[in-house]
Each structure stands twice: as C-alpha cells, then as structure tokens.
Symmetry: C2
Subunit: 771 residues, 2 copies
C-alpha cells in the first residue's frame, strides 16, 4: 500500500482544492460551534463566558476527518453526477454530519426553524446536546443518516445492506479505527463475497485511522503498513492510502484517491455488466490516516491534544469558567476564519455554497437515507413479486431451519468460485447466508432502512448474539416514528425456529428462549411477538408481519412437522384476535364457565396442553376444562402497556376471574407473570415453561425435564382444582404411572414411546382442520 | 503461504507416522461408533439393525480433522515434554474429543464406569447423545475442555485468555472455517497484540479449512491462497499450510508443521525472555486444509458426502432401517480395521497406548482445563496480591468508567509500538483494553476457566453485546457445578458503570439497563445481581463477589460522584442483609408501621427516593414514610425461586402487607414485578424505572423524562395514600410547581437547577456516614 496516485492524473485544480479547504473549515467551524457555543455564533464580538454552554458534550476527535471526507465526496458527486450514500461509522461525530447537512441546505429544508443564516446558526449551535435539542450522535434526527453509530461495529454491514439491489448507488462508509476492533466490523469486510457488481451497488470503505479510541491507541493504527496492506488485501480489497497532516497536501491526495476509487468502481461495473468479467472483483478502499482532532488545539494545559486521544471528546473542558481555556477555544474557532466563510447574514458565501451537490444528490437528501420514500408495498403472496427486492438473511441455517423450499425460487448469493457439485449457490442468489448473525442482522437493517423488504431466520438461542443490534434498531425506530419527515420503512421480521424444544442433536448450549424477554422491554409501539401454534397460523402471522412497517416482529415457530389444529379461516380469525378459546379441545361448553383453564403459547406447549386436555377428559370427564391459545403474546399485557393488550373484560372472559389457569408457555415462565401481573386472575395463573434444563435427548424428554409435558400439566391442573376425591387420586396415580413409563422407555430405547411419537388428538371436532 | 517444510528436517520416522495413523483410525472408529452404535462395539459380528441407535445425533464432518490434530499434538507433547491445552473450536465434534480422552485413559479415570475395555466402549458409544447420557458437543462433561463450542465464535479468544499469565503453556486452538466467519472470531486474531511472550504462554491457532458449514461453502476455504496468506500475515501471523487428502502424506506434513511451529514458539520465547527481542513477535499458525468428513463415506444415495457439506452431521441417515445404509456404515467402520487397534478385551493395543502422553501431560488431564485445581484464593484487599494473577478487562473504557486509579498499579497491555507521549501503556500491563466486548468477555472466560481471577468493567448498555456469551458461560457453570471432578473456578464479575442514568453526552443509544433482566433468566444458583447505593456498599459488594466462585455476579454502580449514605459498618450489615430499612430517611419510627413505603434499588433511584422522602417530610410531615433500599436484587424473589430470596415474613416486614409501595428502580420496571409477583403486598407495589425515554440531556432531566425523579415519586406516593385533604392538595401543587420550574430552567440554561445539582439530605442522622 503505497501512495500510488500520480499527481498529474487528476483534473482537480488548486483553486478547487482551495475552495474545498474553505468548505471543510466551514464544517469544522460549525462543528466546534455546536459543541461549545450558546451565543455569538459568528464570533463578531470577543468570546465571553456566557456565550459558552455550561455543559460541554460531544465528540470532536473524529469530526474533522468526517468533514474532510464529506467535502471531498461533495466534489466527486458533482464531478460524476454520482449517487452517494454516506454511512458514518463514527456516529459520535454527529456535529460534523449536522454541520454538513446545514451547509448543503438539507438541514434547513427539513427543520425550517434552523434557518440557513446567523439566527439559524445560533439555534443550530444551541440545540446540539442541549435539553430539548438534538442528540450528540448521527441520530435518526440527522438528515442523510441510516446509521446512529453510538454502538460501534455495524457501519460496514449497514453499508453493504444498503448497496444490495441498488445498482447505481455508491455507499461511502467511514469506518473508525476504534470500531474496526469490534467483532462485527472485523467480519464485515468479508461482505464483499456477497456483493454482485451486476445487480448491486458499490461500497467504498474509508478506514479512518486517526490513531486513538477514548483513551488508547488503536490496533490498526499501530501495526506496520505492510501488515495493514496485507490485511486488507487478504480481505479482498485494493487499498489506497491517504496519509498526512498538512491540509493542502491532504486535499490533493484525497481528491486523487477518490478519483482513483470511483474510476475503479466504474471500471468494475462496466466489465461485469457487459459480461466481460465474473466472480468477485477487487473493490477499492481508502485508508485515511489523519490526526485525531485535526486542526484543533495542539496542546491544552501543557498536554498533547491534537493527534492524541485527549482530542476524543471535548478538548478544552472549561471554556466557560476559565479564561485561558476560553482563549484557546476562541483562537481555535477563529483559525477557521469565519469571516471568509459566512456573509454578513451568516449565510455560507456563494462560492462555497456552490460546492454542494444539488437536490437529491446532496448526501443529506439522498432518498436511500430515508428509505420509506423508496419503499414499495410488498405484493403478497404472489411469489413473482418477491423476486424484485426481497432478501432472506440467515447464518447458514436456511436448510437446517427447513426453509429450503426457497431454493426453488432463488439461490444463495455467492461471489467466490462455484464448484460443479455445489447446491443452490448462485451469483444472483437472494438468500444471504454467512455464519454470522451480526452480518445477517446488519445487512438486513441496511437493506430495510433503504426502503426494501427482507426476512431473518435464525436459531432461537443464537439470536441473542444480536441482542444489542436489536436494541439499537428498536431505538432507531422509536425515534424515527416521531419524525414526520422519515417515511415508514418495512418492519424487521425474525423467524426464530430450531427452537429450545427441538434441539435434540445440539443440546443445552442451543436452548435459550429468552430473546422475546429482551424484546418485550422495548417500546410497545415498536415490538410484536407471535407464537403461531400451527402452520396455518404461521402463514397468517407472517403475512401480517410482512405488511407492517416501522416495527420489529418476532415469530417463534418450530421447524419440525407438527399437528395442524386450525382450518385457514379459523386460523385467520384466531390470529386476528391474538388469543382465543379452542372450544373443541376443552370439555366446558361454549360460553360455559370452566373449572380449570389450560392456556398455551407456542407450538410445543400447545401440543402438550391439548394432549393434557385430552388426558383430563379421559381421566376426569366430569371436570370442565377450557383451552386458551395465545398467538400474539402482547394480548396478555395490560392495554395501557401495549396497544395489543386485551381489555380487562376480554382477558377475564378468556382466563376467568377466579379459576385456576395452568399456562404452558414456550419460554421462561417469568415473562407470562410479568405480562399478566395486573390482571384480575393473576394470582391463579400457574406458568410452566423452560426451566433452563436440557441436554441432547428426545423431544418429549425435553418437555419432561422442564415439567411442561402433558402429564405434568394435567397433574398441575388436578392439583389446582378443588379436591376430586377418589377419581382425582386415581387420575394422579395413572398420570404418574405413564410418566414413569415414558422415562423408563426412553432411557432404554433412546427414543420416545410410540404413543407419544404418533399421538394425535383422539376426539374429533368440526372446528379442526384435517378432521 | 507455500508448503515450506523441508521433509528432510523432521526426525519423525515412517514407523512413528504409521503408528500415529493407527491411533487416528482408532479415534475415528470410536467417533463413528459413538454416533451410531448401541451394541456390537468392536464389530465382532455382522452389524444388525438393533446395534444401531434409533436416533442418530452428532456431527461427523469436523471430527476426523479434530482427531488428526489430537494425534499429532500427542506426538509433539511427548517429543518435547510440552504442556498443551487443546481448545476445540468446532465443539460440535464432541465424539472426537471424547474418543481421544478415552484412548489416553483420562476418560475412564474420571468416569470409571466407562472402562477402558470392550464393555466400557459399549457404554461409551451408547451414552453419546442418548437420554441420560452425555451431550453431543465438547461440553463441560468432556475432560480437557474449557470450551463448549456449541455457539461458535469464541474459541480463539478463550485460547488467548487461557494463555495469559501461563508462560509455559501452549494453547493449540482449532478454529473451524465456519466459526471463522463470525464477528468475534474475526476480531480475535488481533489478540496477538496483547500477548506478551515473556510472561504469557503461546497460542497456536490451527485454522481448519474443511470447506463447508452446515449447507454452504465457507468464505475462507474459497478465497485464493494469496488472499488467505495476506489475510493472516496482515493479522500478524506466519501461516504454515498443511493441505491434502492422502493420510500418509498429510501425517508427514502435519508432523513437520507442528515441529516448525513449536520450534518457532521456542525461539520466540528464548529471544524475548533473554531480552534479545521486544515488541510483538510474528507467531506461527497452521492452516489445515482437509476434506470435511475425511475418511468417511464418499457417497451416499448417489450424492457426494466426503469433502462436502453433506458430511456435516450424520452422513448415513438410516443405518437402522435401511440395509444398504447399514452396509455403508459397516464398511466405513471396518475400513479403520478395529482388529488392528483393539485387543481381545477391547483395549487399545499397547503400541498405540504408548503414543499418548503421560499423567497431566495428557490433554484430557492438563490441569489448566480444570482451572479450579490451580485456582488460588484471592488475597483481599492487599493490592500486592493483585499483581500476580488478576486482570482487568474492558472495551477502552477503564478511564471513561473512572477506574483509572488502577493505572497507579499497572498499565494497559500493549505489544505494538509505544510512543513517548502514550499514557499507561506497558508491555506487562494487566489492564486489557480493546474496543470489543466480545474479546474482553472471551479473554476473561478463558482466564477464569484456567484458574485465575479477573474483572470486566463495561458500559451498561453495551454489555448486551455479549448477552449470548454470558448465556453460554452461565450454562457452562450450571453444568460444571454438577460435576464433582470440576474444581470451582472464580466467578465472572461484571461492573456495569456509565449506566443508563448518566449518559449525558451519548444519549439514547447508550441507555439500556436490561442486561440484568437477561441475567435473571438463568439458573438461580449461578447468578447474582447487586445495586450498591453508595461507595461503601460498592466496596462491600465487590469484596464479596471477588471471593465467590462458579457464579456470575453483576454489579451496577455509576461512575459519577454521588452521596455516601452509609458508614462502612452500616454498609456491611446492609449488604449482608441484601435489603433493609433506612430509618433515618423516613418519618415512621423504628419498627413503626408506615403509611407509605418508598423503596429503591440503584444509586440514582436511591438518591431520588431519599430526596422524595425529604419532600414528603417537608410538605406532609404527618405522613409516616419508610425508606427501603435493596442492594441484592434477588432478595425480592421468592425463596423457592432464588437462594437469596427473603422469606415471606421478612419481605412483609420490609414492604408491609397492605401499604402502598412506590419502588424507584434502576432498570425496566417489569423486572421488579416479575421478581415480586408472589409477594403478599404485590398488588400495592408501584414501580418506576427506565421507560425507554432519553437523549443527550442533563442528569436530572433524564430521571424526569422517565418519571423517576423525586417530584414524581413524591406525587405517586401522595396519589397512593389515603386522601390527605387540603394539605395533600397543597403538596401536590407545590411538587408540580417545582417540577415545572426545573423543566423551564434546564431548557433555558442547559443544566440542572443549582438546588438539584447541589442537593444534600437536609435532615441530619447519626446513622449516616459523613454527618
């Protein structure tokens, strides 16, 4: 990785670079102003204490580099009429993104109260990290952003997600060298193996080595240039180095580097789209090595700041209270020469304003960054429509999760060599499989936020790997739902299959149903959780989820063949209600008050609860049982806590106000208590679920180990009923006998009893499909 | 990366390699037997249906490669008297690890019922993935394992954690090419920047390219050799390639590669320990490219199996029911020639048994893999003792979390260049900082499981990044606690600071208190959650946690200066009780029944609850208030659910049986409901906590946004009390006025009201420290 650029090659003139430098200074000036100033935005009078905010919050260190990249991207967008989306990995550098979108005019268009003059500038400064104002990061509020960057690690994977199926787009993605140390980012570089230059856009990674994290050097900034080159060549990129401190030289280098990178991208597109090349090209990337806190104070209180981690947040900490600090701040801001940048009204001078792209070419206004504007309604269920802009994401589990019928429609995306014996690999495959939940999640987020549709199927236990990414996406949606200018985007849909009850061959490490507990903590507007009990219900739920927007829907449904309980029309009605009584399964008549309620949520618990109802009918026919199935878990919650929460009278109509309820639940029992604690009959709800017991054993033994099986459920029901006398005692003895028989059989034979394996509901009912 | 090995260099003879091949065949035979057989273990009669398990569960694909590595490591351990720990990344290949530890004798020593003869072999086969038997992965039950490998991604980081401060140890770490696609693994390669060859052991990564995941090729197996070499050179390693299919040639190559790698490790150690070299050496690694399902069936049902992903799990699926399948299985097993490997009693023949290392050199018996055997009690609080074998792990946040006093004792580990202006970097630093929670967690797990002590400090929101790693560690501990031969290891201690209430400068993305909800789902034996309300309590809690073992302790405590409520003696008593009444804060006398209980857990909620108690005392002096502080969250849970759960009478003595309780809680309110739903007074418990509202704003505005502030708490208390008449109305009006005043002030000034910032408890009390 040498400085390969021939200075003679570029057409950019010294005059143009001088203008770019002024534009950059304007962005830097506005960034510092946001962090520090309450008043006197143009420094038209000496800086006084009252002009400085009492609380100084923000991240300066990364900002000048982000501004530098932004200014140069503006140039090349204009030069080539390019469509560029800016993904800002170091989202902490929010002031820079805000500054640039203000300079180009998008900010004032979206937020007219922040006008493009001195008054607007004053408000722009004041609102930053100020109560009632805007956050310090490149947040949903920031025009042009699809990436918050508060939790580091996901910039590059978002960039690739945005580039998929956007053939004209170039996603410029700044990756900070701190972020580059995270696991998700380290794996994200391999996304190039899944990007097809014919149908997908390009990602131009810009690795920004400013050398430091909060308080440490970064790994990549301190390894040798040779290792650095090897590493990114090994990842499959052609790195271009831009390194230095002197702005004038750096402007020329950066302009050349972008010319080279855009040339190369254009050449790759041309070759591949003309059919003259196939396979994975060697995409360009830029390694930008510049000082942290570039152009900021060199020293404060005798300690090195520029080019060191002390520049990370607020380099001059007491500018309000300490005059010498205030002097440093004022000198720093004046070093950008605001009088050369802004006119008498505080507007950017025309020759600089002319540097920004126009209309939707502005990176703050590019429609992909407000993907709902591009989003088309998904045509359901016409499969042909899916061929346009839907992708399926999963960590090498599509077949393992028994979704391989999809390969009849499309293959797995794969840009490396394809061997003759490979199965369902295709350069234009729409199933994205890599053994990284992080990459699946991140690609999908980037894809959805730029206005498309997609789906993530995953083992239930391992979706916890992206707990934190889920958090960030839920937070993003919570805020965007409050921003009218953000058009709605498709919901992020999870299908969690290969779930806790069917990990026969993998055992304990693969058993964790707790993702939904995590989900239930997020804002009720944003999250939905579904447990379809059978295939028809799954179809109804999935159909619904795919049509929603700005939400996160979690569907938990096993992949194993299992009973079909409901005809399609019944399934539709049941799923719309979210929860309901299955009269055919109980012995209480329609509308009749039961002695005991057997409730269930989840496919396996439903099977066991229905079987338990059968056992009670067989052994204690006088007892009036009712079976309640819950599809939409949020119906359980109080209506003031969740919009899907059933009104109390409807809840009571299902669960009674005073009868025992034995609730067979798919996951950790506490979630049911947490959701129902406000309900009238809560004290009588007895939940059975996963007790964190399991290993590689038979399916039925798994439910027995957790006391969720039909025998334990029936025993619990009897235990909670009023004394049933001798009949009750006989029933208990019989249930215990059968349970023991099971245990003996499986330990001897290594499989479940035939009557368990081949069980079906023995009492016919017109309400049931397939009868 | 060429095949650099000079065949003449190695001393290994053809005869020795032939013996190693037989040993490998024995391991492969035993692996297949575990997956398939119930009886006829030595194939002394033709294979019949009843000899085959009815449910075939396990992973064959990776196993022959794992066995190959094991056999060759045995050789080099003997040749050099080396101390080697085997970390098996593809832990799904459990049959291989079990087979090898049985061959070397450790298995039968630990599990005498699985004897080293034909009878033991039969049991060995039967128990695998069988009800009542052992799991299919390299689980806690497996001798020599510190790594389950069910959830992929953490092998290499565990290996480095094990190598830290173990100067004589070589950790051989097999990394599967599927696992290599995960984020955590992709970042783990950079762990070499933190390993000091003078004081730490060595990690020898063995990247096993067998080409396929469950149903896809792997990325690293399909990129060019040039990119592969570049990638690992870029990561800082010197790769040695071992590639092929022919066992005889592969044995020689592998023997040479290990000789070369061990030579290089020895040379690095000698140079660095003699002071002739410094900085980071270029450690060797091995890239082993061998067919998936090597030596297994080439084809089944006309489809390619060996060397393809169909070999991943059980290559011959119906060996019990289908005679042709059974024939394939029998031929396959006989291809290993068991009659040449086992004697008439089913024991490994002596010339092969002689190949295994002896005693603790056996990889199944190496004490580091049963770290509790090496663990020493931590000397507390004598700081000197910490210098021996304690490390602090964190993602570049030690200073940001205000723990930088530690740098007075030790530095941050850093093996790259150190610049003159760097701060607290040191080759022998004991603070491990990398911007990857995955690496911090994984290093610490490896460190603890090999018998040492450590500590993980992290931003509260971002600990969710390792939710799934936490899960796996909790599951590991749950199982190891049941295994008598596993000596206890130190607890994994989290300090979650920079918490939700003090994210002034980062805002919403940095606010998530839900990790403890996730923790609370795990087995009660394993997890503890503490919310120390002040510094003395934090000291007590930390002191306790550091002395515990086989647990995961979560301590949530902010980094900001805050009031000190309790003298040390009071703090000790309070923390031991886990929850208690602070008489001095309430107006109800000692032992007197209050009108209302103000409860709190967490430092910020405690501050607000105490202040609310003050407001009530000021505005409604007649109301008898009681303040209850909860340090140990698990005291709230029913005693049948958690060993720390208070007995009901003790709970009632704190919270009353019928008075309103306003509970100010640090996290999501639902957790308190979930923990207390069984308590007598639950219906009167009104919880306030984080409502998922926040941005970059002032500390007090954060609590106001979530209605957790003193004014809202006092208003809630009044609302829940019996009507207080005019005094009550006046109090409500006054509280609302002050609240509005706050909001006005901060929106204008950007900081909290001085009386909030400078607030202190206005009513003296002898019970309080510092008064």
């Amino acid at each position: 990785m040498s400085d390969l650029i021939d200075p003679a090659r570029s057409e950019v003139s010294d005059e143009e670079l001088a203008l770019i430098d002024r534009y950059w200074r304007a962005a830097n000036y506005l960034s510092v102003g946001q962090i520090y100033l309450l008043g006197n935005p143009l420094l038209r009078e000496p800086l006084k204490a009252e002009h400085v905010k009492p609380r100084l919050l923000g991240h300066w260190g990364t900002t000048p580099g982000l501004n530098f990249v932004y200014a140069h991207l503006n140039r090349i967008i204009n030069a080539r009429d390019a469509e560029v989306l800016y993904v800002c990995g170091p989202g902490h550098g929010g002031p820079g993104m805000v500054a640039n979108t203000w300079l180009e005019g998008t900010y004032s268009e979206i937020y007219p109260e922040i006008s493009d003059d001195a008054e607007g500038m004053k408000k722009l400064f004041r609102q930053f990290s100020f109560p009632g104002g805007i956050p310090s990061h490149a947040a949903p509020e920031t025009p042009g952003s699809i990436h918050e960057g508060g939790e580091l690690g996901y910039a590059l994977v978002h960039a690739f997600g945005a580039a998929f199926d956007n053939p004209d787009l170039i996603v410029a993605c700044v990756v900070g060298d701190g972020e580059a140390e995270t696991g998700p980012l380290a794996a994200s570089w391999h996304s190039n193996k899944f990007l097809n230059p014919v149908r997908d856009g390009a990602v131009l990674p810009i690795l920004h080595l400013n050398g430091y994290k909060i308080a440490n050097p970064t790994v990549l900034a301190r390894i040798s240039d040779e290792e650095l080159t090897d590493l990114f060549s090994g990842y499959g990129y052609a790195p271009i180095l831009v390194e230095g401190e002197d702005p004038a030289r750096m402007h020329r280098r950066m302009a050349h580097a972008l010319d080279e990178a855009f040339d190369e991208i254009a050449a790759i597109r041309a070759e591949h789209r003309a059919g003259r090349a196939a396979g994975r090209p060697r995409w360009p990337m830029i390694i930008l090595r510049s000082p942290k806190g570039w152009t900021g104070p060199k020293e404060v209180d005798g300690k090195k700041v520029e080019g060191f981690w002390r520049a990370h947040q607020v380099p001059v900490s007491n500018a309000r209270g300490d005059e010498s600090h205030r002097r440093i701040l004022e000198d720093w801001m004046r070093s950008y020469r605001p009088q050369d940048l802004f006119d008498a009204d505080g507007r950017l001078v025309p020759e600089l304003a002319a540097l920004a792209p126009r209309g939707e070419r502005r990176m703050g206004a590019v429609p992909h960054a407000n993907g709902g504007r591009l989003r088309q309604e998904l045509q359901q269920p016409a499969i042909e429509a899916h061929a346009v802009d839907v992708r399926l994401f999963g960590p090498d589990e599509t077949a393992s999760n028994r979704l391989d019928a999809v390969f009849g429609t499309t293959g797995r995306a794969w840009m490396e060599e394809i061997e003759p014996y490979d199965v369902s690999l295709a350069r234009d495959g729409r199933v994205m499989e890599i053994l990284s939940e992080h990459l699946c999640q991140g690609w999908l987020e980037g894809y959805l936020l730029t206005g498309r549709h997609g789906f993530f199927s995953c083992y239930e236990a391992f979706i916890h790997i992206v707990d934190s990414m889920f958090n960030q996406h839920a937070k993003w949606l919570k805020v965007t739902r409050q921003l009218k200018w953000r058009a709605p985007v498709s919901s992020l849909n999870y299908l969690l299959t290969s779930h806790v009850w069917r990990q026969d061959h993998n055992g304990f490490s693969h058993q964790d149903p707790g993702f939904v507990d995590h989900v239930a903590n997020k804002k009720a507007d944003v999250v939905r959780i579904y447990f379809p009990p059978d295939a028809n219900s799954l179809l109804c739920v999935a159909d619904h989820c795919l049509a929603t927007y700005d939400r996160i829907n979690v569907i938990v449904a096993g992949k194993q063949p299992s009973p079909q309980w409901l005809a399609m029309e019944d399934a539709k009605a049941h799923c719309e209600a979210g929860a309901g009584i299955w009269d055919w399964a109980g012995t209480a008549g329609h509308g009749e008050e039961p002695d005991v309620v057997l409730a269930c949520a989840g496919d396996v618990p439903t099977l066991e609860a229905v079987a338990a109802a059968g056992l009670l009918r067989e052994l204690l026919p006088e007892v009036k049982t009712r079976l309640v199935n819950v599809v939409d878990l949020m119906t359980l919650q109080a209506p003031e806590h969740h919009p899907h929460g059933l009104a109390d009278d409807r809840f009571d109509a299902l669960f009674t106000t005073d009868k025992p309820v034995v609730f067979a639940y798919h996951g950790y029992p506490m979630l049911i208590h947490r959701l129902t604690y406000k309900r009238t009959n809560h004290r009588n709800i007895h939940v059975r679920g996963y007790q964190e017991e399991g290993t590689t054993t038979t399916p039925f033994d798994m439910v027995v180990m957790n006391e969720l099986d039909r025998f334990h459920l029936a025993l619990e029901a009897i235990n909670r009923l009023p004394d049933q006398g001798e009949a009750g005692e006989a029933a208990v003895a019989e249930l215990r006998r059968r349970l023991a028989e099971h245990r003996t059989y499986i330990c001897e034979h290594g499989e479940d009893l035939p009557e368990i394996r081949n069980w079906s509901w023995p009492y016919g009912s017109a309400a049931r499909a397939g009868d």
